[in-house]
């Protein structure tokens, strides 16, 4: 038996078969074998965090000198915007109160409101060029587990794919493996937003299964539909950039421009359910 292990070809065959088995096992979701990877990523994550931190500090230092004039101008603009927004905000608060009352009257449960937001930094990005997966500095220690949605203040980013103790891997919505049940805000038609390999580099996704009678035009907003149970209802994904036709009139697809800028993403929020009731609502949606 030991003589066999001295033969290089046998060792190679053995390692190959073991790796193929591991690939097979780890492709099952939530399988135990993924904890092998946790060892490495747990060791790496403090270093990644450090490099990410110092990278940002260095950039900030150099940006400091360039930005003074820009900041002055921006400050003036922002002050004007703040005034406008304060006015608008007051109006919106009235609407909010009205909305809440109406919701209560109609007994609609809001999926978004009973979720906690946990801030997280992006500490590493995908190593290859084929996928768009990144690592955040929150893990099971912070109560994060698989399939939690990731957002920024602008809109949807993706979902948690795998969790380790101190870090978690996030698959973004522009990755080819991601597909989301979405809804056109204007007409409430249910569509599917998927990542696409060619559009990924520009940061766009593709929208499929558009109903034939749906009235869709450039600039329409797209949000999550709440169907499927991963993403809560009503998170903005992006807007329609272009509507294209495939072979016939009925078969259409659209290019979606996400509101989130994936190239300049640094901080994100993890949406965490704060009570169990939420699960029931999403189950009902299925």
């Amino acid at each position: 038996m030991f003589r066999l292990f001295k033969n290089k070809k046998f060792v190679l065959l053995f390692v190959t078969i073991v790796l193929l088995v591991v690939i097979g096992l780890s492709s099952i979701q939530n399988s135990k074998i993924n904890h092998v990877g946790d060892i490495f990523s747990t060791v790496l994550s403090p270093f990644q965090r450090f490099i990410g931190f110092s990278d940002k500090k260095i950039n900030d230092f150099f940006a400091h000198f360039e930005d003074i004039n820009k900041l002055r101008k921006e400050n003036e603009d922002l002050k004007n915007t703040v005034d406008e927004l304060v006015y608008e905000n007051e109006k919106l608060i009235d609407f909010k109160i009205e909305n809440e009352e109406l919701r209560k009257a109609l007994n609609i449960k809001d999926q978004y409101s009973n979720m906690d937001m946990i801030g997280a930094n992006i500490i590493a990005k995908d190593m290859g060029n084929w996928f768009d997966i990144f690592t955040i500095d929150r893990g099971t220690k912070d109560g994060i587990s698989n399939d939690y949605p990731i957002v920024t203040n602008r809109g949807l980013v993706g979902r948690v794919m795998q969790t380790d103790l101190f870090s978690a891997k996030v698959i973004s919505i522009i990755d080819e493996d991601s597909s989301i049940s979405a809804r056109l805000s204007k007409t409430s038609d249910i569509v599917v937003v998927k990542g696409d390999r060619k559009l990924k580099d520009e940061g766009f996704c593709i929208m499929n299964y558009i109903p034939a009678e749906a009235d869709i035009s450039v600039g329409d907003k797209v949000e999550t539909s709440g169907v499927g149970g991963i993403y809560p209802k009503g998170i903005i994904i992006g807007k329609v950039k272009e509507v294209r036709q495939r072979t016939n009139q009925l078969d259409r697809y659209a290019i979606i421009e996400p509101l989130v800028d994936f190239r300049r993403l640094e901080q994100v929020f993890v949406l965490k359910e704060s009570n169990i009731n939420n699960n029931e609502t999403s189950d009902e949606d299925k």
Binding site: V22, S27, F40, G52, A124, K125, W130, T135, E176
Partner: protein
């Protein structure tokens, strides 16, 4: 032996760390370089196939842990890349930078095509021109440029290892 293990561990660790953090900010035309390929090719070229395969396996495993979908895929790819380069290195004048650059270029193309093929062929129609034009060629050129720096590092390590071996033999 101990020296080798420590040196390779540091080298692999640093490569994966740089690749996963700084990789995104050194993009050219939207393409990241793949330093691990250059490292595996050059170790297999200058040292031998066995060491190349081991370094490839470890690099791949780290890559799987950091950014892979499944555990073992990149490890397998790295293992075989190291082995194949190790098989042809005896016929080449291995201490020539140009050979390292050329081999990195060629193996990036093969490696990335295989990754593309295995991750795509069961779920989407394959398209061979688009990835070649937009990702693989640029990445191959970028990797070749990086391979020069790695070549210098690995040659220095190679000389050290040789001296170390000689000293321990005389003893």
């Amino acid at each position: 032996m101990k020296l080798k293990i420590i040196a390779y561990t540091i080298l692999i660790f640093l490569t994966v760390l740089i690749q996963s953090t700084v990789g995104d900010s050194i993009k050219i035309y939207g393409v990241r370089p793949n330093i691990t390929i250059a490292l595996i090719v050059i170790v297999a070229l200058i040292r031998n196939g066995t060491e190349g395969a081991i370094v490839g396996f470890c690099c791949g495993l780290m890559q799987d842990a950091v950014s892979g979908m499944v555990i073992g895929f990149y490890a397998l790819m790295g293992l075989y890349l190291g082995l194949v380069i190790g098989l042809i290195n005896k016929r080449l004048y291995r201490e020539n930078v140009l050979i390292a650059v050329f081999l990195t270029f060629a193996s990036t193309i093969v490696y990335e095509y295989l990754v593309y093929f295995f991750t795509t062929f069961l779920r989407a129609p394959l398209d061979f021109v688009y990835p070649m034009k937009n990702i693989i060629l640029i990445e191959a050129a970028y990797n070749s440029a990086i391979s020069i720096f790695i070549f210098i590092i690995v040659i220095k390590m190679h000389v050290r290892f040789k001296e170390y071996d000689k000293n321990s033999r005389r003893y």
